[in-house]
Point group: C2
Amino acid sequence: MPHTMESICRKLHSSDYRITPQRQTILKVFIENASKHLSAEEIYYLVKEKHPEVSLATVYRTLDLLAELGILQKMNFNDGRSRYEFTEQDNQHLHHHHHMICLRCGKVTEFEDILLDSLEDVIAKRTNFKIVDHHVKFFGFCENCRRQ
Amino acid sequence: MPHTMESICRKLHSSDYRITPQRQTILKVFIENASKHLSAEEIYYLVKEKHPEVSLATVYRTLDLLAELGILQKMNFNDGRSRYEFTEQDNQHLHHHHHMICLRCGKVTEFEDILLDSLEDVIAKRTNFKIVDHHVKFFGFCENCRRQ
DNA sequence: TTTGATGCAAATGGTTTGCATCGGG
DNA sequence: CCCGATGCAAACCATTTGCATCAAA
């Protein structure tokens, strides 16, 4: 179930949050750039193109709210700002994908995980932690940058 | 080969960096608390106990320098500040260990990886990235916090 | 003696917040 | 209408930097 304007607005509404034009605009930009791991400021500038009156504070507050509702996740790619992406989940499970970050150009590529869930089990048993999530990042050089 | 005051000072010297009392004090604190993933400010306060004249800027500059020399690594545990730990490596390979972070008390536990290197190969082939490092973090609840 | 290292204070940059106002429900 | 949401500017907080001074080599 992908995130749509409609499903998110329904969730906002059912959680007693108002559906304001600012939130709609921010959501629209976010949906249109779903794969890009945008930062708050990047979202702000995209929003401003069509709605210059929206403030950066509102972008931050909206992103915080959406993260709190579990609609999106705040990510850290060690570039000094937070980036956001949609939480992907099917009925009961978080759908994990991970990230490959190019150390030269900063490009972030996603990939699906196949082995991590079993690793999670092993670790859980060994450490006695109750594991609820994992983050995996690979750092290296993308195809494009390797050619130069 | 664990990091010792001597080995690090040798490295500083051979890289033409000066061995100052401030750097020695910071190193000492870091070595004595090697397992704790301290932040710059935490190191600063520990250093200040014995050497109140050392400034926070010097702590940051020293940590940056040590990271640049590959002696330690800057880590991000999503708590709003960078934390540092020794790079562990045997002769040619980075020695990967990963982290389990308790969402309740913030405790960071390390564990060794066994499966990740093969996953790295799979990903490298699939994405055409030249992978040079990976970060893996598990989030959950530690044994202690689970009992409460 | 030379030049890198330091302390201090000010600057930076991402993010948060107080407050008066606005407007969705 | 009411209270949550917004815009603005100021505050915050980790980190960085400019600069005069100090001291390792």
